[in-house]
Point group: C2
Chain length 126, copies 2
């Protein structure tokens, strides 16, 4: 189905197709990890930050905002002091988890096939 903003067949290889924009959002390490981290239920920012080992608060904030803007997650604010904010998957976000989970799974299953030299983790992130 063509969206209103694209009268042609959808094609992620076309820079002007909305599909390219969505691929850019989903084919992204932090998006893939954040969506996966919400599969078991809503989480608060702090819990997501702890789960996404190595993410900066700035990168996580930007990732969550983009996912919310694109209808993949909901941000719910509960009245409390301090404010209690939870992030959860929308039905669309839950569906997007499927191909992303397969990609994460593929990496784990195939890590032994990569050239060992490139798998050395830089000392900076140890």
């Amino acid at each position: 189905m063509a969206s209103p903003s694209c009268g042609r067949a959808h094609d992620v290889y076309d820079a002007t197709c909305p599909c390219r924009h969505m691929l850019d959002l989903l084919a992204n390490k932090w998006s893939a990890l954040a969506l996966g981290a919400l599969e078991d239920g809503p989480r608060r920012f702090g819990a997501l930050r702890a789960r996404l080992d190595g993410v900066s608060p700035k990168a996580l904030t930007a990732t969550l905002r983009r996912l919310e803007e694109h209808g993949l997650i909901d941000r719910t604010v509960y009245p409390a002091v301090p404010l209690h904010v939870e992030y959860s998957l929308t039905p669309l976000g839950r569906d997007a988890c499927e191909p992303l989970a397969l990609l994460r799974r593929w990496v784990v299953d195939n890590i032994g096939r990569f050239p060992p030299a490139v798998l050395e983790v830089p000392a900076a992130v140890r």
Copy 2:
């Protein structure tokens, strides 16, 4: 199977696990598109650049170099004037195409479910 550089169970959520590094490489728009563009056979740089609409030569060069370093594609130089260079999938790269194709496919199949406003393509890339 644990790699020599990681004595623990592999986990893409762990910043120090080699899996995280590989997810970073594969969960990337240009990697996903470049590997997919090689599924039908070897291609030259110019053909890849034309296929990956909107990619800069610099970004494509960096992407191809990373994919080659990580054993996902081969770069073959044929003696000719000017040099004839072809890129092709390795068996590992061909296998990596499977989850990436599912992700590209998911985007195309579900594009109509995204909020229309966010799918407007900026004038800059039209």
